[in-house]
């Protein structure tokens, strides 16, 4: 019993402190707005939705109560004890805090000098627009009632063994699904795989029709990041060369496209399509040029040198010295977009162009990955010395990895510049390299679907989180940290990567990747 209370108190104080921080950061008002809108409560103060705040507090205390009772749910008494102790503490913490700020506010103390979020309106919002005593009591009451409710609900759920039953049902359903005729046909008939791809393709091609202008643009950005991710996936994921200056090739692609198609600073104005090819070639060439001196280095040294290279490119395109040739800090304007038979690509059409580019790159990546080139890259990543002893010319294959990755980035850069009809130094900062690398890590290193998922999470999720306003990057960062803790191999990892991080769980390739099956 004592232990239960102790644990409840501990958990309660953690929850209490976290909630106070949420309030201090002003996150509660944002979240309560979302919740309030969700249940259609009308907003009564300018800083947030009081009804939403109540719901938020109730949800938090339900959560606290149920997790407090997790240690002992054998009988309802112990569940009640943990529920009471945890909710009492949270209630006390938060209510005391609100009482304090409410009191200070009514005494006309200016708290905003220290805590930006605590202006008069915010305090009124925390008190649900009521009097000091009423607001504090409501808060305390919500925490107490819902905390206990949470603990009891968790107990009830467990007592009925609802959890187990549902789990069993899910398992049975899963087995049934796997055993079903359809699944068998799917497994036995290789053609059905193509039907699956076809359906997926159909979805991909129809979706842009339903997207508004803004989402079309946002998805285009995601798509360009997918292209870059696929390129860096070859360099880092397959060949194991840590490249932190990947943005350099993106910039070279973008600037090649820009300089050759825009009227200024160079009056060339060549058409988009030949320039697109040329941008890819230029980026690949730059990859080889950088690769020759650099690729004799291994690991960390390579990372630092490439980091420097990325910065050099950015500084060069920004410099006043080169401004007459590459546009300087202002960048390049009026870059020509593509057109076919006199019709210009824009909006939806441009998104399709990006999708087609992605599909082509996926196809080529897939070919490379399952060839002697892909195996040579993987072998180098695993053990460079032994790879060389296997007759692999490691320098050549590193250069090829670098050039391939650079070419994909160059394609991404050219598409990016032509879409925006502008490119400048601000588009090519270190953040781009970091973002692309992060999307690989989040999605799953060395996995093509992982790259796509990663790009959506990294570039798409912030767009969705725009609702959260200022805090989207905070929430986003938190999500990333959380994900790396619970799933370090990424969301959709390659099987070998999963195996590396979960020793003993998986030591055989899944059947769809089997090489044995392909023989003969």
């Amino acid at each position: 019993m004592k232990d239960l209370i102790k644990q409840g108190l501990r958990l309660g104080s953690i929850f209490g402190v976290v909630i106070i921080f949420l309030i201090l950061f002003g996150l509660t008002s944002t979240l309560s707005d979302i919740l309030g809108e969700f249940v259609n409560l009308e907003s009564r103060t300018r800083t947030g939705n009081p009804g939403g705040l109540m719901i938020l507090f109730a949800l938090l205390s339900l959560w606290a109560g149920s997790s407090a009772s997790a240690s002992d749910r054998s009988n309802w008494k112990s569940a009640l004890v943990s529920g009471v102790s945890v909710s009492l503490i949270i209630g006390l913490f938060v209510a005391a805090f609100i009482l304090l700020v409410g009191f200070l506010d009514s005494a006309d103390v200016e708290m905003r000098d220290y805590l930006a979020q605590l202006d008069h309106l915010s305090v009124q919002f925390l008190l649900y627009g009521r009097s000091l005593i009423a607001g504090v009591l409501i808060t305390f009451g919500i925490f107490l009632i819902f905390g206990i409710l949470g603990a009891l609900l968790a107990y009830w759920y467990e007592a009925k063994q609802a959890g187990e039953v549902i789990q069993k049902q899910v398992l049975v359903l899963k087995e049934k699904a796997l055993d079903s005729k359809l699944a068998k046909q799917y497994k036995e008939n290789p053609r059905s795989k193509w039907i699956g791809y076809g359906l997926l393709g159909l979805v991909v091609f129809i979706t842009p029709q339903f997207l508004g202008k803004y989402w079309n643009y946002a998805m285009g950005t995601v798509g360009i990041y997918v292209l870059m991710g696929l390129g860096l996936n070859i360099v880092v994921g397959l060949a194991g060369l840590l490249d932190l200056g990947y943005v350099a090739f993106f910039a070279i692609g973008a600037y090649t496209a820009g300089l050759l198609t825009a009227p200024a600073p160079l009056p060339l104005q060549i058409g988009f399509w030949p320039v697109l090819i040329f941008s890819i070639v230029m980026a690949a060439f730059a990859g080889i040029l950088l690769g020759i001196p650099v690729l004799r280095m291994r690991g960390d040294y390579l990372a630092i040198v490439t980091l420097g290279f990325g910065e050099i490119i950015r500084v060069l395109i920004r410099s006043d010295m080169l401004a007459p040739y590459v546009g300087g800090p202002q960048g390049i304007r009026d870059i020509a977009g593509p057109s076919l038979f006199g019709i210009a690509f824009s909006g939806k059409a441009y998104l399709y162009l990006i999708i087609i580019a992605i599909l082509l790159i996926i196809l080529f990546t897939n070919y490379l990955q399952n060839s002697k080139v892909g195996r040579a890259w993987m072998a180098m990543r695993e053990d460079e010395t032994v790879a060389q002893a296997m007759g692999i010319n490691t320098l050549y294959y590193k250069l090829m990895a670098f050039a391939t990755g650079a070419a994909f980035a160059g394609l991404g850069g050219a598409l990016f510049a032509a879409r925006n009809q502008y490119t400048g130094p601000a588009d090519h900062t270190l953040m781009v390299s970091i973002n692309v690398l992060s999307l690989l890590i989040v999605g799953g290193m060395g996995s093509i679907p992982g790259v796509i998922v990663g790009a959506f999470v990294l570039k798409g999720l912030p767009e969705i989180l725009r609702e959260l306003d200022l805090y989207r990057l905070l929430v986003f960062g938190g999500l990333l940290v959380f994900m790396m803790i619970i799933r370090p191999e990424g969301i959709w990892p390659a099987p070998r990567r999963r195996m590396e991080l979960h020793e003993g769980e998986l030591d055989v390739l899944p059947p769809e990747e089997s090489l044995v099956g392909k023989e003969g």
């Binding site: 080529f364 070919y367 490379l368 399952n370 060839s371 002697k372 080139v373 892909g374 195996r375 040579a376 993987m378 072998a379 695993e382 053990d383 010395t385 032994v386 790879a387 060389q388 002893a389 296997m390 007759g391 692999i392 010319n393 490691t394 090829m400 070998r496 990567r497 195996m499 590396e500 030591d507 055989v508 390739l509 089997s514 090489l515 044995v516 392909k518 023989e519 003969g520």
Partner: protein, 255 residues
């Protein structure tokens, strides 16, 4: 005619001569071995032959052609394969993939073929996969092609490493303590297997062993290294009686 020859090869690390003036001659189709106590310079000699350490002095010839100054991958492509004392597979690649990496020099398709998945590349890839499967069966790992190398038991890892070395279709294979960590029974099986490589595939074998007994069974000729120097050479019978060899293994006075 010797397939592999070293002439007065010396490799120094700082002041220490790890390999000191060593001359070997390995005839084609033979099973030769190098023995010696720990730190005698056996593995260093292998590293010189395979190009990982540039030899400071001397010359090394493969079929009469000098290996000096060639990169490790070039040397492998000439037809020299090796295994490692502490197994060095590609752990996160499957057994079959490991063998396919070993077959790398045998595959003639180039980067563009791979990128565009040309018919020529597809045909070659299919053939390579069949060959790899055969090799897998040959070393007794049938049905384990999709297992990741690091999930295999120790003995199977050794055999997989051997299969990977064979995939290069070598003319000579340098084995570094292939029976390390095995019990006497396993060692005998391994040695029979090695002998079959020579008898059935006609591959010249050079062995490094630490333990003398295993050698004597299949080796036709033995070189003994100690402190980087060649202290004796001869048939197993001669080596067993050589007082200098006994001394270096058992210490002064034992002879």
């Amino acid at each position: 005619m010797s397939i592999l020859e070293t002439r007065n090869v010396t490799k120094r690390f700082g002041g220490l001569s790890a390999v000191d003036n060593v001359t070997l001659q390995i005839p084609e189709g033979s099973i030769y071995s190098i023995i010696g106590p720990n730190g005698a310079g056996k593995t260093t000699l292998y590293n010189c032959i395979t190009g990982f350490y540039p030899a400071d002095e001397g010359d090394m010839l493969f079929n009469g052609k000098s290996l000096m100054g060639l990169s490790p991958d070039r040397i492998t492509r000439l037809g020299i394969s090796r295994t490692y004392q502490n197994i060095r597979l590609f752990p996160a690649m499957t057994a079959l993939e490991n063998i396919l990496v070993g077959a790398h020099p045998q595959l003639k398709s180039n980067y563009v073929d791979a990128f565009l998945h040309t018919p020529r590349q597809r045909a070659e890839e299919k053939k390579a996969l069949e060959d790899a499967q055969d090799l897998l069966n040959f070393v007794g790992l049938k049905g384990k092609g999709d297992l990741f190398a690091r999930g295999l038991p120790y003995g199977e890892q050794r055999r997989l490493e051997m299969a990977r070395a064979l995939a290069n279709k070598p003319k000579i294979i340098l084995l570094d303590e292939p029976t390390a960590g095995m019990n006497p029974n396993e060692s005998v099986t391994m040695m029979r297997f090695i002998q079959s490589l020579r008898d059935e595939l006609g591959i010249t074998i050079l062995l490094i062993e630490h333990d003398m007994k295993v050698e004597m069974g299949i080796s036709e000729f033995i070189y003994v290294l100690d402190f980087g120097q060649l202290i004796a050479k001869g048939t197993p019978g001669e080596i067993q009686k050589n007082p200098q060899v006994i001394e270096s293994y058992l210490g002064r006075g034992a002879a």
